[in-house]
């Protein structure tokens, strides 16, 4: 453990040299070379950290004073193979059939605990993600969600724009967080069409010289800060045009399972970096509406992936369920009427609780894309 084995160091450097783990041709595919594992009470030195797909053989020798075990785990600690009861001084072999992906090996001195873990990568050809029926279904299901949200987005934004143009500030203020809800639920999809996102959702301090400040946040400023919407008509018109473009593109594009997984994570990152801080809706302080919408959007993407995730890592699904519930419960304490308290009505301690809950959820969600990609 405290020493890099030469073989693994060399193969790692080779890997680094090719720049990608996917095209590493030096992996010993099909070779029946055994991979030596030197186990002791405090170390587990696995001679190689990668292999080609197929049958992999580990030769474990116990050089410690305690009886040990050796395991190969897939994601979620799914046991791919194990040898138990290796007495001190003895050697045993483990043959295990592995497809491409990342695994962990573990020696367990004393046969208890999580053991001493090492990463193990298996490379080799694997089927495309969309050939997986459950993943293909996930993208279809999510597409349906996007369609329902974009429909509501256009409706509510049309109402909001009409209120602005009619000079009805009170009505516009009430509709502002509502129309944004549908936007914030599918924001990662919108972000795929990069040039429209800044025009619709850009903030004043994000502008480059020569760019105009347009979109929701410009109208937000006119409503809450400048308190003058008499000249906001053209901005409102442009918002509706831009939103319509996004809606058309979002409904014609098809998303990959990986985009779903990453979208679920990005929505929570939005919350953690922009909504917790009150930075996004700085004039209206309606950040908790966006917060709730981001979480709902993330949950919708995970729901679409759920059957595939259940198959790959049921424990993760359970964790995600619990942590989505915890975020909802924390948010629920800040409900106000049909909506939410304003950001500046929350204490630092309130915000810390929300932040902790979002981080608690975002951390496991960040592993979903790898799981989806891991076939």
């Amino acid at each position: 453990m405290r020493r890099i084995t030469a073989a693994s160091a060399a193969s790692l450097l080779l890997l680094a040299g090719c720049g990608s783990s996917g095209d590493d041709s030096s992996a010993a595919a099909g070779s029946d070379d055994k991979i030596a594992v030197a186990a002791s009470d405090t170390a587990c030195e696995v001679a190689k950290s990668e292999s080609g797909a197929g049958t992999v053989t580990f030769a474990i020798s116990n050089k410690g004073d305690k009886v040990t075990e050796f395991y190969v785990y897939a994601a979620g600690d799914r046991v791919m193979g194990e040898v138990e009861n290796i007495a001190p001084g003895l050697s045993r072999d483990l043959h295990v059939e592995l497809t491409a992906g990342t695994y962990e090996t573990a020696c367990k001195p004393g046969m208890i605990g999580k053991g001493i873990r090492n990463g193990f990568t298996v490379t080799g050809s694997a089927a495309a993600l969309t050939e997986d029926a459950k993943l293909a279904q996930a993208t279809t299901d999510y597409q349906r969600y996007v369609k329902s949200q974009t429909g509501a987005l256009i409706d509510k934004t049309t109402e909001f724009v009409a209120a602005v143009k009619a000079g009805d500030a009170a009505k516009a203020k009430a509709l502002f967080p509502v129309s944004r809800t549908y936007w914030e639920r599918i924001e990662p999809v919108a972000e795929i069409f990069g040039d429209l996102d800044p025009a619709i959702d850009g903030r004043e301090d994000g502008l480059e010289p020569g760019q105009d400040f347009t979109g929701y946040h410009r109208l937000e400023k006119d409503l809450w800060q400048t308190e003058d919407i008499s000249k906001s008509g053209p901005i409102a018109d442009k918002l509706l045009v831009d939103v319509q473009k996004i809606v058309d593109q979002a409904n014609s594009a098809s998303l990959s399972p990986l985009q779903l997984a990453n979208g679920a994570k990005e929505l929570l990152d939005e919350v953690a970096s922009g909504k917790i801080t009150g930075e996004e809706d700085r004039y209206s302080h309606t950040d908790l509406w966006d917060f709730a919408a981001n979480v709902e959007g993330s949950q919708a993407a995970i729901a679409a992936l759920r059957p595939a995730l259940e198959e790959k890592d049921p424990a993760l699904v359970k964790t995600l369920d619990e942590r989505f519930a915890a975020v909802e419960a924390a948010l629920e304490t800040h409900r106000s009427g049909d909506g939410w308290k304003l950001h500046d009505q929350l204490s630092q301690a309130d915000l810390k609780v929300l932040s902790d809950n979002i981080n608690a959820l975002a951390e496991p969600i960040s592993t979903v894309a790898g799981l989806v990609a891991g076939k």
Binding site: G113, K114, N359, G370
Partner: protein, 410 residues
């Protein structure tokens, strides 16, 4: 690179590591050993936790966590994962098994990567459990009576938001990047189970824990830690540092109690104080660190010596009030660090001492000493205690089948 390279030769640095790597590469899959002396890594497994009597490193990142889950199993799993990561990182490896760049492109790396290419740098990770943890998890019977929140001392200006905590972790290393990397990865791995309550960076150890180390200086410019307990004084350590069988619950036998205090120093007013007054306040000379009236740093202070009709070492001098002879023989093992957290908006350095002390029983160690100092120390005019923490640090883990907190939770 998948794993961080460990090399032992201090000063050889990254250059040599790279050369070793190139050599291994040229040998293909051969079995040529790369530079493998581990002198730079401090063993993680052992009877005692590292980071207490092991020679004080130059840099610190201390963190206190609140446990935010009510699920005991989640906490235990995190402690297991932390222990595995700590074993790896203190050996100069990545926090996770795939490492900063070894995983698949679709997954976030299981190491944050800022320590790629850096050696172990003497990293130690030392864990302790705060009083509030025992309440949260109904561990009342396991809670040592010695583990009480510290009392309010006269003059304390404690900020609760940077005090206390359910779990404290001290990361010390010779390289601040390595210490920060370790804490950052533990915080990352703990999300959903723990939340960072407060953390503190320190530079420049302010005491020596081994006779092989020279005595360093604090931000007042004085030598600090001259009379510290040292690793070589094993009999004194048994008496004053390590918890003994019968002192409290058995899970703490062989451990030690950690007290942290963040002490802001008003350095601007100190710097306007005359040399003579500074020395009178400390009770030692600024140059050699000798007690007033003596000539060598390690000379025993003579508290009865008089200069005319006033004591040579003033009655309110720091060294007198803190001295074991004035505190029923109380001795501490200190391993504090200087800090500068930028400036305070009033043009003053936000600077001071992050005080760390280990002892067998705070009721006979830190508490009486600090009570005496808080009442009478003439240095109080220049310092403010602004953060306070206490943690019970169990003994070390002897093999990989053990993990932090196992005896408490299983």
């Amino acid at each position: 690179m998948k794993r961080r390279r460990m090399i032992g030769m201090a000063g050889a640095g990254v250059g040599l590591a790279a050369a070793g790597g190139a050599f291994a590469l040229s040998q293909g899959s051969g079995t040529v050993p790369v530079a493998s002396s581990s002198g730079d890594a401090i063993p993680f497994y052992g009877v005692r936790q590292a980071g207490i009597v092991t020679p004080a490193q130059d840099r610190l990142h201390f963190v206190a966590f609140d446990v935010i889950t009510k699920n005991r199993a989640e906490l235990v799993t995190m402690l297991e994962n932390w222990t595995a990561a700590a074993a790896r990182m203190t050996a100069g490896l990545d926090a996770g098994t795939m490492g900063a760049v070894g995983g698949i492109p679709e997954s976030p790396p299981d190491d944050t990567g800022e320590a790629i290419g850096l050696p172990a740098s003497g990293l130690t990770l030392t864990i302790g459990f705060g009083p509030s943890l025992f309440t949260k998890f109904g561990l009342g019977k396991q809670r040592p009576v010695a583990l009480e929140d510290l009392p309010h001392f006269p003059g304390d200006a404690i900020d609760a938001t940077i005090s206390g905590g359910d779990i404290g972790i001290q990361a010390c290393a010779h390289d601040p990047q390595v210490a920060v990397h370790a804490i950052r990865n533990l915080a990352r791995m703990g999300m959903g189970v723990v939340s960072v309550r407060w953390s503190q960076l320190g530079f420049g150890r302010t005491s020596s824990t081994s006779t092989s180390q020279a005595t360093p200086r604090n931000l007042f410019g004085f030598k600090d830690g001259t009379a510290n307990l040292k690793a070589e004084e094993t009999a004194l350590l048994d008496e004053h540092l390590w918890v003994r069988d019968g002192d409290g619950p058995s899970w703490m036998t062989g451990g030690s109690y950690l007290v942290t205090r963040k002490i802001r120093m008003i350095v601007e007013t100190w710097d306007r104080t005359s040399l003579g007054e500074q020395e009178a306040i400390v009770g030692r000379t600024k140059g050699s660190g000798a007690p007033l009236g003596s000539s060598g740093e390690f000379d025993e202070p003579d508290f009865s010596a008089m200069s005319g009709n006033i004591p040579t070492i003033p009655v309110d001098a720091h060294v007198r009030l803190a001295h074991p002879t004035q505190n029923q023989g109380a001795r501490l093992l200190r391993r504090g660090y200087n800090f500068v957290d930028g400036s305070d908006g009033l043009g003053r350095l936000n600077a001071g001492l992050f005080f760390i002390a280990y002892q067998r029983d705070p009721r006979r160690g830190f508490i009486p000493v600090q009570t005496a100092l808080a009442r009478r120390d003439s240095m109080n005019e220049y310092i403010r205690h602004i953060s306070s923490g206490i943690f019970a640090c169990p003994p070390g883990l002897e093999a990989a089948d053990d993990f932090w907190g196992r005896k408490l939770f299983t």
